[in-house]
Structure formats: structure tokens, C-alpha cells
């Protein structure tokens, strides 16, 4: 589905060169959830940006469904820590935006948006502006907007990082339910190892900058998972410890 082949990325800031990503090879199977984890600022978000085609890699290539990504990849849904809702629009008009851009009539797109808003549990807030919503509600609105144009792959860049623990669990639950219904391919960047294991089929640990793949771990926890309880199972702990040992190697030097 998504293949990264020998990806490298170097940013130039004046005369200074920063190597964000080096030699990353990664293949993501269709319908799977893959979590990318690693020290902050290690270049994970850079990878997502390149998959979305927002900028090209300096080396290697990104292949999406057999085609090389050379321009903005409009087949993916992208969600970041920051909710990119338009503040001058209501929830309904924000969610309906992708269909509005596609030129659908107002009646049609509002109907579809209302159904999606119900699915993410935001019904009753259709006519609020994003400034009037709580952080969790904004995430729900973003999720609804992203799902409305039915992307085959979702790129999630620490989408729930700003939420408190309870809300985050609720969002994990929602995400897994929506995934069970639509089976998108999901690529999730996160800092939170518990979040990574709870959601993913596979966790990829990245090294410090420049990002390389340091370790990969399959997560063979059965689905459907109870996002609130799965973290207390024995298998979860084994996986957690296995990944944490690797992750610590990457974090140790950073702390010093």
C-alpha cells in the first residue's frame, strides 16, 4: 500500500544542513495500523509529510498504491496534533468542506456531513464554531472531516497528544471502531508507547535524528481490542517491555 524506498531528507536552513531522515525502508500493508515511535524531533513527521506529498524526499522515493508520489497525495487523510479546522465555519460546514471542494450540492453534502458527525458522536454541535468546542470535540470534527472523503489511508501525526488520558482512550475507541468499519490503512506517529501498542498491528521504533528504523515489533493482540483494558493484559506487557528496551537506547543519550 505505502512503500518507502531508501528515503532520506535533508533540510537546509541558511548554510546549515539538517539531516532529518536517512535511509528509511518501510512497507505498510493495506488495512493495517502501523505506529511510528521515537524520540521527539527525530523526523517521523517529516516522513508523513513526504507520504502526503507536501514536499519531496531528498533521496529515495515514496510509492503509494504502486505509483510514485510526486505531488500532493490527495488519496490520504492527514490529521495532526493541531486541528486544522477553519475557525470562521461551523462544525457542519467544516466537516462538509471536502465535499464542498468536490462541488457537491449543499443539501447532499450537509446530509453526508450530518451522518458522519453522528458517527463520531458530535451530534448536537453542528452549528458551533470551532472556537466554542473543547479539544476532544475538535478532534472528533477533524476525524469526521477526514473520513468524509473516504481516504484509503490515514496519516495521523500525534493526533491525540493534546488530550487528557480519559479523552484519549475515548478517541482510541472511536478510531478503532471506525477502522473496523472501513479498514483504512493507518500510519500513526506517536510519543506514547501505550497508545502505539493499543492501536497498532506493528510498532516501528525510530532512532534519534537522522531517523532510521531501529526496531520493529509485531503486536499480536487479538482484535477487537478493549482500549481501556488491553493495557493490563500480560501479552501487552511483554510487548511493551520488548519495545521499551529498544526505545530506551534511543532516549538515553538524548537525556544526557
Amino acid at each position: 500500500m505505502i512503500e518507502l524506498q531508501g528515503i532520506g531528507k535533508t533540510f537546509r536552513k541558511g548554510t546549515e544542513e539538517v539531516r532529518a531522515v536517512a535511509h528509511v525502508d518501510l512497507a505498510i500493508q493495506p488495512h493495517s495500523i502501523v505506529a511510528l515511535i521515537g524520540p521527539s524531533g527525530c523526523g517521523k513527521s517529516t516522513l508523513l509529510n513526504m507520504i502526503a506529498g507536501l514536499y519531496p524526499p531528498s533521496e529515495g522515493r515514496v510509492v503509494y498504491q504502486g505509483r510514485q508520489v510526486s505531488d500532493v497525495n490527495t488519496d490520504v487523510g492527514y490529521m495532526t496534533q493541531k486541528d486544522n479546522l477553519l475557525p470562521w465555519r461551523t462544525v457542519l460546514d467544516n466537516v462538509a468542506l471536502p465535499l464542498e471542494l468536490a462541488g457537491q450540492s449543499q443539501a447532499k453534502r450537509h446530509e453526508a456531513a450530518r451522518a458522519m458527525i453522528r458517527q463520531v458522536g458530535l451530534d448536537g454541535f453542528e452549528n458551533k464554531y470551532s472556537g466554542e468546542l473543547s479539544g476532544g470535540m475538535r478532534k472528533r470534527a477533524c476525524l469526521a472531516r477526514m473520513l468524509l472523503y473516504e481516504p484509503k489511508a490515514l496519516l495521523l501525526d500525534e493526533p491525540f497528544a493534546a488530550l487528557d488520558a480519559q479523552l484519549r482512550i475515548a478517541m482510541h475507541d472511536l478510531l478503532l471502531k471506525l477502522w473496523a468499519a472501513n479498514k483504512q490503512t493507518i500510519l500513526l506517529v506517536t510519543h506514547d508507547l501505550v497508545e502505539a501498542i493499543t492501536l497498532a498491528d506493528r510498532v516501528v521504533v525510530f532512532s534519534r535524528r537522522p531517523a532510521r528504523v531501529a526496531h520493529e515489533q509485531r503486536v499480536d493482540l487479538p482484535r477487537p481490542r478493549d482500549v481501556a483494558q488491553v493495557r493490563f493484559t500480560e501479552r501487552f506487557h511483554e510487548i511493551y517491555n520488548a519495545i521499551w528496551d529498544k526505545l530506551r537506547e534511543e532516549y538515553v543519550e538524548e537525556k544526557l
Partner: protein, 276 residues
């Protein structure tokens, strides 16, 4: 979001009956006080005129009122008011449209904005009022030269603010729309223009008094009608009351123009008021 909760330190206050600070007076009481202040100032002016200060210098409120009433009664004021309103409004509209279009255009084109940068700033630094003789040569003594002067004062203010507004658009919002298959035109109309509106309005609002200034100066330099002409003519006839009366009319016009722009802004930017 969490950092926005600021804690005001509790000052230890002496235990005596609390009096409301003057700054927290109710709006009604404040309006009353404002009116009282105005009346006091007028009375002081009236009493000092002819006693403390020569009436030739400051006239007096009653003389000004009489002059104003005279103009209104014989209808001679209207031609001047209309000339000024016409030139201000047209100058403002022309300048605003040109400024918004220019600002959007250059804001979206890094190449053009870099190319034209030194010329724009050089022209912006020029005192535009100094262009008045040129406009009179080009557009004649009539109202068009006043429209041109008002427009040229307005255009830069609106341009600079629109340009800044376009530059301030959150690139993440633009990217998120690009990922949703938005075309260039849609990004312009759905993200860039709405998000620049608050900046554009700052420009429009600051430009309103300048449109009036441009018109008045144009009328003072060479005209046969308009409030600027009225000020200038009254002054040259040593008619102090007439100068003050014309100034009063100009001030009233300025307040009305400002109010109109404020109302329009409130209507268009409902979401901003709501989100506060």
C-alpha cells in the same frame, strides 16, 4: 490552552467598605458623564470667548451654532457635504478595491513581491498629499482630483494590511485543503480570503479617516465646493465661526464613516465575536 489560565495575585486590602473603581462604571452612567463633560467644555469655551481669549481666535459655541444653523436653514451646506461624501466614498472604494486586489496578488506571488518591494516602499514613504498638484493637473479642478487623492491615501493602507494578512495565513490550513483536493481558486476563496479578512478590515478601518483627509486636503488646495473648501474659504474671510462650523460637520462625517465600517465588520465576522 492550559497556559491561558492566569492567576491574579490576591492583594491584601485594608478592611474598609469597598467602593467600585471608577473604571467599572456602568455604560449608561459613563454616557451621562461624557455628556456632562462635553457641556462643561462648551460652557468654559463660551465663557472664555471674548473675556479671556479674543473671539477672533476661538469664536464661541453660540456663534458657531448660529453659523451652522444658518447654513442648514438656507441649504447652502448640502452641496459641500455631498461633494465631500461623494469624493470620500468613491476614493475609499477605489482605493480599497485596488488595495485588496494588489495585496492578494502580491501576497500570493513571492516573485512579484520581491521584485516590486523597493518600489512599493519608496512610493509608500512618499507623502501622498504632495501628489495633489499632479492630480489637479491630471483630473482637473473638479471632484475627480479629490477622489484620486483620497484613493491614493487609502490604497497603501489597505494594500499593506491585505499583504500582511495573506502572509499570515496558516500554511497548515492551506496544506490541509490541498490534501482535500482543493484547486488553487478554492484555496484562495475558502482559506486565504476569509483568514485575511480581519487584517483587511484593520486596513479598511484605518483607511477611512485617510479617505476623508485626502478629500479635505484636495478641496482646500483647489475646489469650488466641499467641506475642505468651506474651511479654507471661511479662514480666508477671517470667519472663525465658519471654520469651526465646517470642522464640526467634518467631525460628524468622520464618526459616521467609522461607525458604518464597524457595523459591516461585525456583520461579516460573526464567528470572531462568537469564539471569544
Amino acid at each position: 490552552m492550559t497556559a491561558s489560565e492566569t492567576v491574579t495575585p490576591e492583594l491584601s486590602k485594608p478592611a474598609r467598605p469597598q467602593r467600585k473603581p471608577l473604571g467599572e462604571m456602568s455604560p449608561m452612567a459613563m454616557v451621562g458623564l461624557q455628556i456632562v463633560l462635553g457641556i462643561v467644555l462648551l460652557v468654559v469655551w463660551q465663557l472664555s470667548a471674548g473675556r479671556l481669549i479674543d473671539k477672533f481666535m476661538i469664536s464661541s459655541p453660540i456663534d458657531v451654532m448660529v453659523r451652522l444653523w444658518g447654513w442648514i436653514a438656507n441649504g447652502s451646506i448640502y452641496v459641500h457635504v455631498w461633494a465631500t461624501i461623494y469624493a470620500t466614498v468613491y476614493g475609499f472604494l477605489i482605493g480599497a478595491v485596488a488595495g485588496v486586489i494588489g495585496g492578494l496578488w502580491l501576497g500570493l506571488s513571492p516573485f512579484l513581491s520581491r521584485l516590486l518591494d523597493p518600489y512599493i516602499w519608496a512610493f509608500n514613504a512618499l507623502p501622498k498629499v504632495a501628489l495633489a498638484p499632479l492630480f489637479i493637473l491630471w483630473f482637473g479642478l473638479g471632484i475627480n482630483s479629490k477622489v484620486a487623492l483620497a484613493a491614493v491615501l487609502v490604497v497603501f493602507l489597505v494594500f499593506v494590511n491585505t499583504f500582511a494578512g495573506v502572509r499570515e495565513v496558516d500554511p497548515d490550513l492551506v496544506d490541509s485543503l490541498r490534501l482535500m483536493r482543493a484547486k488553487r481558486r478554492q484555496i484562495l476563496t475558502k482559506v486565504i480570503m476569509p483568514s485575511a479578512t480581519s487584517w483587511i478590515f484593520v486596513g479598511l478601518k484605518t483607511a477611512v479617516p485617510y479617505a476623508l483627509i485626502g478629500t479635505i486636503i484636495g478641496e482646500m488646495i483647489a475646489a469650488n465646493r466641499g467641506l475642505g473648501y468651506l474651511v479654507q474659504r471661511s479662514g480666508s474671510e477671517f470667519d472663525t465661526a465658519g471654520v469651526f462650523a465646517a470642522l464640526v460637520v467634518i467631525a460628524v462625517l468622520a464618526v459616521i464613516f467609522n461607525e458604518v465600517v464597524g457595523r459591516v465588520q461585525d456583520r461579516i465576522q460573526g464567528w470572531k465575536v462568537v469564539s471569544r
